[in-house]
Protein backbone atom coordinates (compact mmCIF):
# COMPACT_ATOMS: atom_id res chain seq x y z
CA UNK A 1 0.00 0.00 0.00
CA UNK A 2 2.90 2.29 0.78
CA UNK A 3 4.07 2.74 -2.77
CA UNK A 4 0.72 2.39 -4.49
CA UNK A 5 0.36 4.93 -7.29
CA UNK A 6 -3.39 4.65 -7.08
CA UNK A 7 -5.47 3.05 -4.39
CA UNK A 8 -9.23 2.66 -4.13
CA UNK A 9 -10.52 2.39 -0.58
CA UNK A 10 -14.08 1.19 -0.09
CA UNK A 11 -15.25 3.04 -3.19
CA UNK A 12 -18.95 3.07 -3.93
CA UNK A 13 -20.95 4.59 -6.74
CA UNK A 14 -24.55 4.69 -7.83
CA UNK A 15 -26.40 6.78 -10.35
CA UNK A 16 -29.59 8.60 -9.45
CA UNK A 17 -31.74 8.94 -12.52
CA UNK A 18 -33.87 12.00 -11.86
CA UNK A 19 -35.50 11.74 -15.25
CA UNK A 20 -36.78 8.32 -14.20
CA UNK A 21 -38.42 9.43 -10.99
CA UNK A 22 -35.18 9.38 -9.09
CA UNK A 23 -34.45 5.69 -9.66
CA UNK A 24 -31.16 4.66 -8.07
CA UNK A 25 -28.80 2.52 -10.07
CA UNK A 26 -26.06 1.09 -7.84
CA UNK A 27 -22.90 0.23 -9.77
CA UNK A 28 -20.08 -0.42 -7.35
CA UNK A 29 -19.76 -0.94 -3.62
CA UNK A 30 -16.77 -1.53 -1.39
CA UNK A 31 -14.18 -1.46 -4.17
CA UNK A 32 -10.73 -1.69 -2.66
CA UNK A 33 -7.63 -2.21 -4.75
CA UNK A 34 -4.33 -0.58 -5.48
CA UNK A 35 -1.79 -0.44 -8.26
CA UNK A 36 1.93 0.00 -7.71
CA UNK A 37 4.55 1.36 -10.01
CA UNK A 38 5.53 -1.25 -12.60
CA UNK A 39 2.26 -3.14 -12.19
CA UNK A 40 -0.42 -3.62 -14.79
CA UNK A 41 -3.65 -4.49 -13.05
CA UNK A 42 -6.44 -5.61 -15.33
CA UNK A 43 -10.03 -5.37 -14.20
CA UNK A 44 -11.88 -8.55 -14.96
CA UNK A 45 -15.50 -9.53 -14.89
CA UNK A 46 -18.49 -9.40 -17.18
CA UNK A 47 -19.39 -6.18 -18.90
CA UNK A 48 -21.77 -3.86 -17.10
CA UNK A 49 -20.10 -4.58 -13.79
CA UNK A 50 -18.75 -1.06 -13.34
CA UNK A 51 -15.19 -1.56 -14.57
CA UNK A 52 -15.29 1.58 -16.70
CA UNK A 53 -16.88 3.51 -13.86
CA UNK A 54 -13.90 2.70 -11.65
CA UNK A 55 -11.49 4.09 -14.23
CA UNK A 56 -13.63 7.14 -14.78
CA UNK A 57 -13.79 7.85 -11.08
CA UNK A 58 -10.03 7.58 -10.82
CA UNK A 59 -9.77 10.10 -13.66
CA UNK A 60 -12.33 12.36 -12.02
CA UNK A 61 -14.69 11.98 -14.94
CA UNK A 62 -17.29 10.39 -12.68
CA UNK A 63 -17.93 11.60 -9.21
CA UNK A 64 -16.78 9.22 -6.50
CA UNK A 65 -19.69 8.91 -4.12
CA UNK A 66 -18.22 6.84 -1.33
CA UNK A 67 -14.75 6.01 -0.14
CA UNK A 68 -11.48 7.46 -1.38
CA UNK A 69 -9.34 7.21 -4.49
CA UNK A 70 -5.85 8.24 -3.60
CA UNK A 71 -3.35 9.07 -6.30
CA UNK A 72 0.29 9.60 -5.51
CA UNK A 73 1.70 12.80 -6.91
CA UNK A 74 5.39 12.82 -6.12
CA UNK A 75 5.66 13.22 -2.38
CA UNK A 76 1.99 13.85 -1.72
CA UNK A 77 -1.26 12.03 -2.15
CA UNK A 78 -4.44 13.49 -3.65
CA UNK A 79 -7.85 12.01 -2.92
CA UNK A 80 -9.68 12.40 -6.21
CA UNK A 81 -13.01 11.93 -4.45
CA UNK A 82 -12.50 15.15 -2.56
CA UNK A 83 -10.14 17.14 -4.76
CA UNK A 84 -11.01 20.52 -6.24
CA UNK A 85 -11.49 20.56 -10.02
CA UNK A 86 -8.22 22.45 -10.31
CA UNK A 87 -6.32 19.72 -8.49
CA UNK A 88 -7.81 17.05 -10.72
CA UNK A 89 -6.91 19.02 -13.84
CA UNK A 90 -3.41 19.37 -12.49
CA UNK A 91 -3.19 15.60 -11.94
CA UNK A 92 -4.38 15.03 -15.49
CA UNK A 93 -1.66 17.28 -16.80
CA UNK A 94 1.16 15.63 -14.92
CA UNK A 95 0.21 12.33 -13.33
CA UNK A 96 -2.74 10.51 -14.88
CA UNK A 97 -3.35 9.56 -18.49
CA UNK A 98 -6.64 8.09 -19.62
CA UNK A 99 -7.22 6.32 -22.89
CA UNK A 100 -10.75 5.34 -23.78
CA UNK A 101 -12.10 3.64 -26.86
CA UNK A 102 -13.46 6.92 -28.07
CA UNK A 103 -11.58 9.95 -29.24
CA UNK A 104 -13.14 13.27 -28.38
CA UNK A 105 -12.69 14.97 -31.67
CA UNK A 106 -11.44 18.50 -31.82
CA UNK A 107 -12.61 20.05 -35.07
CA UNK A 108 -10.05 21.10 -37.66
CA UNK A 109 -6.96 19.87 -35.81
CA UNK A 110 -4.79 17.30 -37.56
CA UNK A 111 -4.00 13.91 -35.97
CA UNK A 112 -0.33 14.63 -35.37
CA UNK A 113 -1.17 18.04 -33.88
CA UNK A 114 -3.74 16.41 -31.58
CA UNK A 115 -1.07 14.08 -30.23
CA UNK A 116 1.53 16.84 -30.03
CA UNK A 117 -0.87 19.09 -28.16
CA UNK A 118 -1.31 16.43 -25.49
CA UNK A 119 2.46 16.37 -25.09
CA UNK A 120 2.71 20.16 -24.90
CA UNK A 121 -0.08 20.26 -22.34
CA UNK A 122 1.90 17.84 -20.24
CA UNK A 123 4.86 20.19 -20.40
CA UNK A 124 6.95 18.48 -23.07
CA UNK A 125 9.33 20.61 -25.07
CA UNK A 126 7.82 21.43 -28.50
CA UNK A 127 10.56 19.64 -30.43
CA UNK A 128 10.33 16.52 -28.27
CA UNK A 129 6.54 16.51 -28.52
CA UNK A 130 6.77 16.64 -32.29
CA UNK A 131 9.31 13.84 -32.60
CA UNK A 132 7.53 11.63 -30.11
CA UNK A 133 4.14 12.17 -31.76
CA UNK A 134 5.62 11.04 -35.08
CA UNK A 135 7.29 8.03 -33.46
CA UNK A 136 4.09 6.91 -31.79
CA UNK A 137 1.91 7.33 -34.86
CA UNK A 138 4.48 5.39 -36.90
CA UNK A 139 4.65 2.58 -34.36
CA UNK A 140 0.86 2.43 -34.31
CA UNK A 141 0.98 2.16 -38.09
CA UNK A 142 -1.18 5.17 -38.83
CA UNK A 143 -0.51 5.96 -42.51
CA UNK A 144 1.57 9.13 -42.75
CA UNK A 145 -0.79 10.66 -45.29
CA UNK A 146 -3.38 10.87 -42.49
CA UNK A 147 -1.17 12.72 -40.01
CA UNK A 148 -2.22 16.19 -41.01
CA UNK A 149 -5.91 15.38 -41.42
CA UNK A 150 -8.42 15.86 -38.62
CA UNK A 151 -9.25 12.48 -37.04
CA UNK A 152 -12.97 13.22 -37.35
CA UNK A 153 -12.77 11.73 -40.84
CA UNK A 154 -10.92 8.55 -39.69
CA UNK A 155 -12.21 5.03 -39.18
CA UNK A 156 -12.83 3.80 -35.62
CA UNK A 157 -9.53 1.92 -35.53
CA UNK A 158 -7.56 4.91 -36.83
CA UNK A 159 -9.17 7.20 -34.31
CA UNK A 160 -8.37 4.77 -31.54
CA UNK A 161 -4.69 4.72 -32.48
CA UNK A 162 -4.59 8.52 -32.39
CA UNK A 163 -6.18 8.30 -28.98
CA UNK A 164 -3.57 5.84 -27.71
CA UNK A 165 -0.73 7.99 -29.01
CA UNK A 166 -2.31 10.92 -27.25
CA UNK A 167 -2.52 9.06 -23.96
CA UNK A 168 1.02 7.74 -24.14
CA UNK A 169 2.99 10.70 -25.46
CA UNK A 170 3.71 12.14 -22.04
CA UNK A 171 5.16 9.54 -19.75
CA UNK A 172 2.82 9.86 -16.83
CA UNK A 173 3.16 7.67 -13.73
CA UNK A 174 -0.44 6.38 -13.94
CA UNK A 175 -2.17 5.03 -17.03
CA UNK A 176 -5.89 4.26 -17.10
CA UNK A 177 -6.74 2.20 -20.18
CA UNK A 178 -10.36 1.52 -21.05
CA UNK A 179 -10.34 -1.04 -23.86
CA UNK A 180 -7.74 0.75 -25.95
CA UNK A 181 -7.54 -2.16 -28.39
CA UNK A 182 -11.27 -2.69 -28.90
CA UNK A 183 -11.39 -1.93 -32.61
CA UNK A 184 -7.84 -2.81 -33.65
CA UNK A 185 -6.66 -5.68 -35.81
CA UNK A 186 -4.14 -8.25 -34.56
CA UNK A 187 -1.08 -6.39 -35.84
CA UNK A 188 -2.06 -3.09 -34.24
CA UNK A 189 -3.07 -4.84 -31.03
CA UNK A 190 0.44 -6.24 -30.86
CA UNK A 191 1.90 -2.75 -31.28
CA UNK A 192 -0.24 -1.49 -28.44
CA UNK A 193 0.75 -4.42 -26.23
CA UNK A 194 4.38 -3.62 -26.85
CA UNK A 195 3.86 0.04 -25.96
CA UNK A 196 2.05 -0.88 -22.74
CA UNK A 197 4.78 -3.30 -21.72
CA UNK A 198 7.41 -0.64 -22.35
CA UNK A 199 5.54 1.82 -20.17
CA UNK A 200 5.19 -0.76 -17.43
CA UNK A 201 8.88 -1.62 -17.63
CA UNK A 202 9.62 2.08 -17.37
CA UNK A 203 7.79 2.11 -14.04
CA UNK A 204 4.31 3.30 -14.88
CA UNK A 205 1.38 1.98 -12.87
CA UNK A 206 -1.31 0.76 -15.24
CA UNK A 207 -4.94 0.01 -14.56
CA UNK A 208 -6.85 -1.29 -17.51
CA UNK A 209 -9.78 -3.07 -19.05
CA UNK A 210 -9.10 -5.45 -21.91
CA UNK A 211 -11.76 -7.69 -23.29
CA UNK A 212 -9.38 -9.46 -25.62
CA UNK A 213 -7.91 -12.36 -23.65
CA UNK A 214 -4.64 -12.38 -25.62
CA UNK A 215 -3.98 -8.75 -24.91
CA UNK A 216 -4.95 -9.16 -21.28
CA UNK A 217 -2.60 -12.07 -20.78
CA UNK A 218 0.18 -10.26 -22.55
CA UNK A 219 0.09 -7.13 -20.38
CA UNK A 220 -1.42 -8.08 -17.01
CA UNK A 221 0.68 -8.59 -13.94
CA UNK A 222 -2.47 -9.15 -11.92
CA UNK A 223 -6.17 -9.53 -12.63
CA UNK A 224 -8.77 -8.22 -10.23
CA UNK A 225 -12.31 -9.47 -10.62
CA UNK A 226 -14.70 -6.61 -10.01
CA UNK A 227 -17.56 -9.02 -9.34
CA UNK A 228 -16.46 -8.73 -5.72
CA UNK A 229 -17.31 -5.02 -5.82
CA UNK A 230 -20.66 -5.54 -7.39
CA UNK A 231 -23.25 -3.41 -5.69
CA UNK A 232 -26.43 -5.19 -4.70
CA UNK A 233 -29.46 -3.67 -6.35
CA UNK A 234 -31.74 -2.32 -3.69
CA UNK A 235 -35.12 -3.99 -3.65
Amino acid sequence: MMDAVVSFADVGKSFTLHLRDGARLPVIAGATLSVRAGECVVLGGASGTGKSSLLKMAYGNYRCEQGAIRIRDGGRVVDVARAEPREILDLRRRVVAYVSQFLRVIPRVGARAVVEAAGLEAGLDAGIARTRAAELLARLDLPERLWDLPPATFSGGEQQRVNIARGLIAERPLLLLDEPTASLDARNRAAVVELIRERRAAGAAILGIFHDADVRDAVATRIVDVAAFRAVVAA
Binding site: L19, I88, I106, P107
Partner: protein, 257 residues
Protein backbone atom coordinates in the same frame (compact mmCIF):
# COMPACT_ATOMS: atom_id res chain seq x y z
CA UNK B 1 -0.58 27.70 -7.67
CA UNK B 2 -1.10 31.32 -6.66
CA UNK B 3 -4.32 32.87 -5.41
CA UNK B 4 -7.40 33.35 -7.55
CA UNK B 5 -7.46 36.02 -10.24
CA UNK B 6 -11.13 36.70 -9.72
CA UNK B 7 -13.23 36.07 -6.66
CA UNK B 8 -16.99 36.44 -6.95
CA UNK B 9 -19.03 36.36 -3.75
CA UNK B 10 -22.78 36.34 -3.23
CA UNK B 11 -23.70 38.30 -6.35
CA UNK B 12 -27.39 39.11 -6.45
CA UNK B 13 -29.60 41.12 -8.75
CA UNK B 14 -33.34 41.48 -8.66
CA UNK B 15 -35.54 42.92 -11.39
CA UNK B 16 -38.82 43.61 -9.67
CA UNK B 17 -40.06 40.29 -8.37
CA UNK B 18 -37.68 38.29 -10.56
CA UNK B 19 -34.32 37.18 -9.20
CA UNK B 20 -31.94 37.39 -12.13
CA UNK B 21 -28.98 36.38 -10.01
CA UNK B 22 -29.12 34.95 -6.53
CA UNK B 23 -26.06 34.49 -4.36
CA UNK B 24 -23.64 33.44 -7.08
CA UNK B 25 -20.06 32.92 -6.04
CA UNK B 26 -16.92 31.27 -7.43
CA UNK B 27 -13.20 31.72 -7.74
CA UNK B 28 -11.34 31.82 -11.03
CA UNK B 29 -7.61 31.18 -11.25
CA UNK B 30 -5.21 32.37 -13.95
CA UNK B 31 -5.56 30.24 -17.07
CA UNK B 32 -8.86 28.71 -16.01
CA UNK B 33 -11.81 28.57 -18.37
CA UNK B 34 -15.18 28.57 -16.67
CA UNK B 35 -18.33 27.93 -18.67
CA UNK B 36 -21.62 29.29 -17.39
CA UNK B 37 -24.42 27.26 -18.91
CA UNK B 38 -28.17 27.38 -18.67
CA UNK B 39 -31.22 28.17 -20.74
CA UNK B 40 -32.15 31.72 -21.69
CA UNK B 41 -33.46 33.53 -18.65
CA UNK B 42 -31.27 31.48 -16.31
CA UNK B 43 -29.35 34.61 -15.35
CA UNK B 44 -26.09 33.68 -17.01
CA UNK B 45 -25.78 36.87 -19.04
CA UNK B 46 -26.83 38.96 -16.04
CA UNK B 47 -24.00 37.32 -14.12
CA UNK B 48 -21.53 38.40 -16.79
CA UNK B 49 -22.89 41.95 -16.71
CA UNK B 50 -22.56 42.04 -12.92
CA UNK B 51 -18.97 40.81 -13.05
CA UNK B 52 -18.07 43.38 -15.70
CA UNK B 53 -19.71 46.10 -13.60
CA UNK B 54 -22.11 46.96 -16.40
CA UNK B 55 -25.04 46.06 -14.18
CA UNK B 56 -25.10 47.30 -10.58
CA UNK B 57 -25.37 44.42 -8.11
CA UNK B 58 -27.88 44.48 -5.28
CA UNK B 59 -25.53 42.45 -3.13
CA UNK B 60 -22.22 40.65 -3.32
CA UNK B 61 -18.74 41.55 -4.45
CA UNK B 62 -16.26 40.99 -7.24
CA UNK B 63 -12.59 41.01 -6.30
CA UNK B 64 -9.84 41.03 -8.91
CA UNK B 65 -6.12 40.57 -8.48
CA UNK B 66 -4.60 43.51 -10.35
CA UNK B 67 -1.35 43.29 -12.27
CA UNK B 68 0.51 44.54 -9.21
CA UNK B 69 -0.70 41.44 -7.36
CA UNK B 70 -3.09 43.32 -5.09
CA UNK B 71 -6.67 42.02 -4.96
CA UNK B 72 -9.13 44.90 -5.28
CA UNK B 73 -12.87 45.11 -4.82
CA UNK B 74 -14.05 46.30 -8.24
CA UNK B 75 -16.92 48.29 -6.75
CA UNK B 76 -14.34 50.39 -4.90
CA UNK B 77 -12.44 51.36 -8.05
CA UNK B 78 -12.98 54.84 -9.44
CA UNK B 79 -14.45 55.10 -12.94
CA UNK B 80 -11.09 55.94 -14.51
CA UNK B 81 -9.38 52.96 -12.91
CA UNK B 82 -12.25 50.65 -13.75
CA UNK B 83 -12.35 51.68 -17.39
CA UNK B 84 -8.60 51.42 -17.70
CA UNK B 85 -8.80 47.89 -16.30
CA UNK B 86 -11.56 46.94 -18.73
CA UNK B 87 -9.65 48.08 -21.78
CA UNK B 88 -6.29 46.62 -20.82
CA UNK B 89 -6.43 43.63 -18.48
CA UNK B 90 -9.96 42.47 -19.33
CA UNK B 91 -11.70 41.66 -22.55
CA UNK B 92 -15.38 41.30 -23.34
CA UNK B 93 -16.44 39.42 -26.46
CA UNK B 94 -20.12 40.03 -27.04
CA UNK B 95 -22.76 37.95 -28.70
CA UNK B 96 -23.77 40.91 -30.85
CA UNK B 97 -20.61 41.98 -32.62
CA UNK B 98 -22.07 45.38 -33.45
CA UNK B 99 -21.93 46.15 -29.71
CA UNK B 100 -18.35 44.99 -29.40
CA UNK B 101 -16.92 46.58 -32.52
CA UNK B 102 -16.90 50.00 -34.14
CA UNK B 103 -18.74 49.09 -37.29
CA UNK B 104 -17.66 52.15 -39.29
CA UNK B 105 -13.98 51.86 -38.38
CA UNK B 106 -11.59 49.61 -40.31
CA UNK B 107 -10.56 46.23 -38.93
CA UNK B 108 -7.09 47.65 -38.26
CA UNK B 109 -8.55 50.61 -36.40
CA UNK B 110 -10.74 48.30 -34.34
CA UNK B 111 -7.74 46.28 -33.25
CA UNK B 112 -5.58 49.37 -32.79
CA UNK B 113 -8.02 51.26 -30.60
CA UNK B 114 -6.95 49.68 -27.33
CA UNK B 115 -3.30 50.30 -28.18
CA UNK B 116 -4.00 53.95 -28.87
CA UNK B 117 -6.04 53.99 -25.69
CA UNK B 118 -2.97 53.06 -23.69
CA UNK B 119 -0.88 55.72 -25.40
CA UNK B 120 0.67 54.01 -28.43
CA UNK B 121 1.39 56.83 -30.88
CA UNK B 122 3.32 55.11 -33.66
CA UNK B 123 1.14 54.37 -36.67
CA UNK B 124 3.52 51.80 -38.17
CA UNK B 125 3.71 49.79 -34.97
CA UNK B 126 -0.05 49.93 -34.41
CA UNK B 127 -0.69 48.69 -37.92
CA UNK B 128 1.91 45.94 -37.67
CA UNK B 129 0.38 44.74 -34.40
CA UNK B 130 -3.10 44.87 -35.92
CA UNK B 131 -1.96 42.81 -38.92
CA UNK B 132 -0.32 40.30 -36.62
CA UNK B 133 -3.53 39.91 -34.66
CA UNK B 134 -5.68 39.62 -37.76
CA UNK B 135 -3.42 36.78 -38.88
CA UNK B 136 -3.77 35.08 -35.51
CA UNK B 137 -7.55 35.10 -35.81
CA UNK B 138 -7.32 34.09 -39.48
CA UNK B 139 -8.50 37.29 -41.11
CA UNK B 140 -6.67 37.94 -44.37
CA UNK B 141 -4.27 40.87 -44.28
CA UNK B 142 -5.94 42.50 -47.28
CA UNK B 143 -9.10 43.04 -45.20
CA UNK B 144 -7.27 45.27 -42.69
CA UNK B 145 -8.72 48.49 -44.08
CA UNK B 146 -12.28 47.23 -44.42
CA UNK B 147 -14.91 48.00 -41.80
CA UNK B 148 -16.54 45.03 -40.06
CA UNK B 149 -19.87 46.05 -41.57
CA UNK B 150 -18.59 44.21 -44.65
CA UNK B 151 -17.54 41.11 -42.66
CA UNK B 152 -19.45 37.87 -42.17
CA UNK B 153 -20.72 36.92 -38.71
CA UNK B 154 -17.79 34.61 -38.05
CA UNK B 155 -15.23 37.19 -39.12
CA UNK B 156 -16.81 39.82 -36.93
CA UNK B 157 -16.41 37.55 -33.91
CA UNK B 158 -12.80 36.89 -34.87
CA UNK B 159 -12.21 40.61 -35.12
CA UNK B 160 -13.78 41.12 -31.70
CA UNK B 161 -11.40 38.58 -30.26
CA UNK B 162 -8.37 40.25 -31.83
CA UNK B 163 -9.56 43.66 -30.66
CA UNK B 164 -9.84 42.37 -27.10
CA UNK B 165 -6.65 40.35 -26.93
CA UNK B 166 -4.30 42.97 -28.37
CA UNK B 167 -3.47 44.40 -24.93
CA UNK B 168 -2.72 40.92 -23.52
CA UNK B 169 -5.59 40.83 -21.02
CA UNK B 170 -5.56 38.19 -18.31
CA UNK B 171 -9.32 37.79 -18.10
CA UNK B 172 -11.77 37.60 -20.99
CA UNK B 173 -15.54 37.47 -20.67
CA UNK B 174 -17.40 35.89 -23.57
CA UNK B 175 -21.15 36.07 -23.98
CA UNK B 176 -22.38 33.40 -26.41
CA UNK B 177 -19.55 34.15 -28.85
CA UNK B 178 -20.55 31.42 -31.31
CA UNK B 179 -24.31 31.53 -31.26
CA UNK B 180 -26.06 32.46 -34.47
CA UNK B 181 -23.20 31.19 -36.62
CA UNK B 182 -23.28 28.31 -39.08
CA UNK B 183 -22.01 25.06 -37.61
CA UNK B 184 -18.83 24.97 -39.70
CA UNK B 185 -18.09 28.63 -38.94
CA UNK B 186 -18.73 27.90 -35.28
CA UNK B 187 -16.29 25.00 -35.26
CA UNK B 188 -13.57 27.13 -36.77
CA UNK B 189 -14.16 29.94 -34.32
CA UNK B 190 -14.15 27.57 -31.36
CA UNK B 191 -10.87 26.17 -32.53
CA UNK B 192 -9.38 29.66 -32.75
CA UNK B 193 -10.61 30.50 -29.27
CA UNK B 194 -9.36 27.20 -27.87
CA UNK B 195 -5.93 27.72 -29.38
CA UNK B 196 -5.53 31.30 -28.19
CA UNK B 197 -6.79 30.55 -24.69
CA UNK B 198 -4.26 27.75 -24.31
CA UNK B 199 -1.42 29.67 -25.91
CA UNK B 200 -1.95 32.85 -23.91
CA UNK B 201 -2.99 31.18 -20.67
CA UNK B 202 -6.13 33.31 -20.51
CA UNK B 203 -8.67 33.07 -17.76
CA UNK B 204 -12.08 33.01 -19.43
CA UNK B 205 -15.66 33.12 -18.31
CA UNK B 206 -17.77 31.97 -21.22
CA UNK B 207 -21.53 32.13 -21.13
CA UNK B 208 -23.18 29.64 -23.45
CA UNK B 209 -26.33 27.61 -23.81
CA UNK B 210 -24.41 25.12 -25.92
CA UNK B 211 -23.01 22.26 -23.85
CA UNK B 212 -20.72 21.20 -26.70
CA UNK B 213 -19.07 24.63 -26.56
CA UNK B 214 -18.65 24.27 -22.81
CA UNK B 215 -17.18 20.77 -23.28
CA UNK B 216 -14.69 21.91 -25.88
CA UNK B 217 -13.46 25.08 -24.21
CA UNK B 218 -13.91 24.95 -20.46
CA UNK B 219 -12.24 23.32 -17.52
CA UNK B 220 -15.04 23.94 -15.14
CA UNK B 221 -18.74 24.50 -15.49
CA UNK B 222 -21.39 26.38 -13.60
CA UNK B 223 -24.97 25.32 -14.31
CA UNK B 224 -27.47 28.10 -13.70
CA UNK B 225 -31.21 28.11 -13.43
CA UNK B 226 -33.53 30.83 -12.20
CA UNK B 227 -30.56 32.97 -11.20
CA UNK B 228 -28.98 30.33 -8.99
CA UNK B 229 -26.08 27.95 -9.40
CA UNK B 230 -27.59 24.45 -9.60
CA UNK B 231 -24.40 22.50 -10.01
CA UNK B 232 -20.72 23.18 -10.48
CA UNK B 233 -17.59 21.14 -11.05
CA UNK B 234 -15.14 19.77 -13.55
CA UNK B 235 -16.69 20.17 -17.01
CA UNK B 236 -16.50 16.57 -18.15
CA UNK B 237 -17.66 15.34 -14.74
CA UNK B 238 -20.74 17.58 -14.72
CA UNK B 239 -21.60 16.63 -18.30
CA UNK B 240 -20.89 12.89 -18.01
CA UNK B 241 -22.10 12.35 -14.47
CA UNK B 242 -24.61 15.12 -13.78
CA UNK B 243 -26.03 15.10 -10.27
CA UNK B 244 -28.79 17.70 -10.16
CA UNK B 245 -32.13 16.83 -11.80
CA UNK B 246 -31.98 19.97 -13.91
CA UNK B 247 -28.46 19.23 -15.14
CA UNK B 248 -29.50 15.72 -16.07
CA UNK B 249 -32.39 17.16 -18.03
CA UNK B 250 -30.09 19.67 -19.73
CA UNK B 251 -27.57 17.00 -20.70
CA UNK B 252 -30.32 14.64 -21.85
CA UNK B 253 -31.81 17.36 -24.05
CA UNK B 254 -28.66 17.61 -26.13
CA UNK B 255 -28.21 15.42 -29.15
CA UNK B 256 -24.54 14.68 -28.62
CA UNK B 257 -22.59 16.90 -26.28
Amino acid sequence: MSGPLLQVRGLAKRYGARLACDGVGFALHPGEVLAVVGESGSGKSTLLGLIAGEIAADAGSVTYRMRDGVARDLAALGPAERRALMRTDWGFVRQDATLGLRMAVSAGGNVGERLMGVGERHYGRIRATALDWLARVEIAADRVDEPPSRFSGGMRQRLQIARNLVTAPRLVLMDEPTSGLDVSVQARLLDTIRGLVAELGLAVIIVTHDLAVARLLSHRILVMRGGRVIETGLTDQVLDDPQAPYTQLLVASVLAA
